[in-house]
Symmetry: C2
Subunit: 199 residues, 2 copies
């Protein structure tokens, strides 16, 4: 049976880095950017467009939203990306043990056994400091960037799933990477993954 680790994360919490390091340690693939590439191939849409529309709600206001292009099934482009990523994530989980970062994989794979669902978070001050170091400065303050990303990810999650992002009961383990440290988070998740094998 394939074993999957899903990593849901707050922006700037280091969840992506943790996912990569976990995958490397375990010798399994990590799907993050690679997932965007696959969705891009599947949908024919641009990678940057998918990055923005596959995890975040887009603020357009109700008027613009009402006039969003919809196909003959009544689906918006964002719905279309959702369906593509749903299918791709299920295919990946069928194919091989792996780490999947973000994109509601925890929800998409919720009924499957041998899925370790993780959530990585950290307080705003720690994340603000980290995003400036990792992603560089922008016109917006880091706090504003975090607030915007957090809200839009949460809204996206709520729109396409019936779960509340960040609600502890939705995950097998939730970790504060700022307090616990990225390396320790990696160790704990690898250990739990190895433990799954014994069942």
């Amino acid at each position: 049976m394939k074993k999957i680790i899903t990593i849901s994360r707050q922006f700037g919490s280091g969840g992506r880095t943790i996912g990569k390091e976990v995958a490397e340690k375990l010798g399994i693939p990590c799907y993050d950017q690679e997932l965007i590439q696959k969705i891009s191939e599947e949908t024919g849409l641009d990678g940057d467009y998918i990055k923005e529309n596959g995890e975040y709600t887009v603020y357009r206001g109700w008027f613009a939203n009402a006039f969003l292009a919809r196909d003959e099934r009544g689906l918006s482009t964002q719905d279309y990306i959702w369906l593509a990523q749903l299918q791709i994530i299920q295919q990946l989980a069928d194919k091989e043990s792996c780490v999947i970062v973000g994109r509601c994989a925890d929800y998409i794979l919720r009924d499957r056994p041998n899925v370790l669902k993780t959530f990585i978070h950290a307080d705003t001050a720690w994340r603000a400091d980290r995003i400036v170091r990792v992603y560089g400065e922008t016109d917006e303050t880091p706090e504003k960037r975090l607030k915007d990303k957090d809200e839009r990810r949460k809204a996206y999650y709520q729109r396409y799933t019936d779960m509340e992002m960040g609600d502890a009961v939705n995950y097998h383990i939730s970790l504060d990477s700022g307090v616990i440290g990225l390396e320790k988070c990696v160790d704990i998740i690898c250990d739990l993954y190895n433990n799954m094998e014994d069942e």
Copy 2:
């Protein structure tokens, strides 16, 4: 510096058992029933009454609530218990390294360094099975008992703190004891506690 582990938990999740085993392994005291005893001594109120009123809101309806006995400061008996447990938990944390189960200790000690805040949860089916085994049958179905306890604990938490119980960001680590297993939860928490010492 004293090191404290707070264990917030869903009813039936095994959080109390985890707390006791963590304390035993680390050779530090675990405050659970002992806390009720202390609050009882401090307030002169009966232990069973404190158990019921120190962590759960009591459904009385607005009419009965409006006529609750209040002292000269306008405090109800529940407020009085809250103030006593707040003071006792702070004194305990000053005095010695320990494990504190429930009673909003995570909130009460939120600004103190060297506090490892944990949350233990599990899905309803697992907890329902466990409470029948551990606490025996009652007239109510286990599912109804869980729902009632969950809701009242959550409401109590919301009333006396400004935090949402079970919101992952409020804890350093949240664990699904049903999936991860009590023993593994104990190991992870002990490991994180020992790691705190190195800081």
